[in-house]
Amino acid sequence: MDSETPKLVLVVDDEPDVRMVIEAALEDAGFEVVTATNGHEAYNRIKERAPDFITLDLVMPKQSGALFYLKLCNNKTWCDIPVMIVSAHIHDELGEQDFRQLMKGQDAPRPTHFMEKPVRPDELVRVVCNTLGVAMDDATAAGARDEVYARLRVADLETLQKVRSVLDKEEG
């Protein structure tokens, strides 16, 4: 992490479990995190301090995600904040319509990213880092280890063999 003030990420989701996990992952990566349970609260948070990134759930009570997003895009000050849609409903009848509508980009610029729940915390953090031009905190071994573990979990045999040979080289 560079010496700038930590970047602020606003996590908007009505599910407390989701907020907790994303918050933990982002904090581990060195971000500052504020949360909101609905679009209304989210707006209040933005007013308090404009975040550098927003993760947004689509289906929520009290101002659904899509409505909040539209509102955001129409706001001159905040329309440029990158938004990642994080939703369980991208492919089902609940969120599909909203999602497709959003992705058409007719009413508002397309959201920067989307991710389907269940969210993989590392993936999410990676996207945030990449978008904000922040290198992931891999200075600490723990961070590196986390990252490597995560990637190893899904690596194929060929990659695994390559890694083994690299490690062998290191040791040797």
């Binding site: 009505d14 599910e15 479990d17 907790m20 933990a24 289906v59 101002q63 089902d92 609940l94």
Partner: protein
Amino acid sequence: MAPLELRTWISEQLFDVAPIAIATIDRDFNIVQANAAFADKFGAWQDRKCFEVYKHRDTLCPRCTAAKSFQDGQTRVTPEVGVDEHGAVTNYIKHTVPIVRPNGEIPYLVEMSIDVTASELLRRENELLFEQVPCNIALLDEELRIVRANRRLRQDFGQVEGRFCYHVFKQAGHVCEGCPAQRSLETGQPHSGRSVVKNARGETLQLHVTTVPVQLGDGVPRYVLEMAVDITESLRLEDELHIAHDFLKTLIATSADAIVGVDADQEVRVVNAAARSLFKIAEGQSLDGDQLAGILPRGLFDEVFSSEQNVLLPETTVRATDGEEIPVRLAGACLESGGKLLGGAVSLTDHRQLRSLQAEKLEAERLAAVGQTVAGLAHGVKNLLTGLEGGMYLMSTGLKKGNTERVDNGWEMLNRNITRVSRFVRDFLSYSKGRTITVEPADPVAVAREVVALYVARAEEAGVELTWSAEGEIAPANLDFEGLHECLTNLVGNAIDACQMSESEKDSRVHVCVSDRDGVLRYSVKDDGVGMDYDLKQKVFTTFFTTKGLGGTGLGLLTTRKIIQEHGGRIELESTPGEGSTFTILLPRDRLPATTATASV
């Protein structure tokens, strides 16, 4: 030569005692002598002219027969019409006999008058009858030639006298087969038969012919009187009646509805095929009054006969002869004609198929709902996965970083979500399997009362005023009390939560109302809480949507909807964001399940 006494009596007394009016007139038409019978008939005659006395005239009669006989000395017999002593018209036959002297002079005429008034009247009567009766009469001779025909016959057939009857009526050249006139001539007895003839206008007529032989003293029928009545019209009406009768009979027989008809004494007269099938009455088996009372609602026909209007029972039960109860739609009507009671009829529509169709429809609706919820299942499962994976993530990163708080959080998340999974599975299984509802007549108001009583304290804690009311008299209904209790509990709970979520400062209100209008039982749960926007309203019933975050499985509303569906009803939602929501349960009474039937849907 007659004996002297007789000759003397004849010359002295005969004139006076003869029962015929006899008068002698001279050449000046004076009546010079008349007998007692004459005086009785025509009254005083002395010094009076004959035309005065016979005819009450002042002058000589125009065609005076006496004048002629005075002239030519001929005897004449003429029918006369005169006036008797009382001024009444009298018909008589007058024999005018001149007394001729040897030298040819005719000094006097003897007029003998035989009264034929009575027979004249009779003759006239017969004439009238013959001419005027509304049937054709012909007098035929032995050769079946028409001797005399009445006016009607002449009108229908033209000039017929002298022609053979078979020629006139049948345009045939010979006697008809089985001719009743011929038979009457042969047997001397009256005969009758049917005949088809063509009249002078070419119209075909159907006649009923009666022939009566006329004997003239020697016992041999010389003439036959043929009387023919035109029955064309009545035959036509008979045909029409037959057709109408057959039409109705077929209509009743082939009707899909069961029809039972009774007469004014409630004796069964009609049981159509559909009725036999419905009530299981065998062909040929009759239905007596007792049996009838056993299968139809009690006192039905009494009701039908006494009421002004027809009786209609849209949903009732009748019993077949083997005791099976059958749901039907029953219509009873009074049959009358011209104010007179003829009987009654009841028509029944078998509702068994309708019921089974309704059950099928309910089942289809349930499956459709399940189908919809399967789609929403993904969301529920994803949430749980998120929780589980998230918990694991927290725990593992926490352990690595030595962050005990995080480890605890992760552990708690895991635990909680595992509990949620099992609860979810249980709820969903029970939801999709189909609950068997137990239906009994229940007081609909009691459900509302109990639920409110249960929640009123909790509501108060949450700053919510919970009330209930019932609109008017609510009749009992077939309900699964527990199921409905669960539904109302769910709705009231949601309403209270909605109020809590609302941002308004004032005390919120939740009101439960029970009503019964237009045959639909209604429960409405109205809150002035947070309300729902369009998105939410769309999703509320179709998914495992829950605003309760941690605790709810999201199945509450879906289960509620299912229970309502099992009652044949539906649930509706009205909501305005920021103002509140009203959930209304609608239970049409005619779709409620039957009592004690464990409708496994």
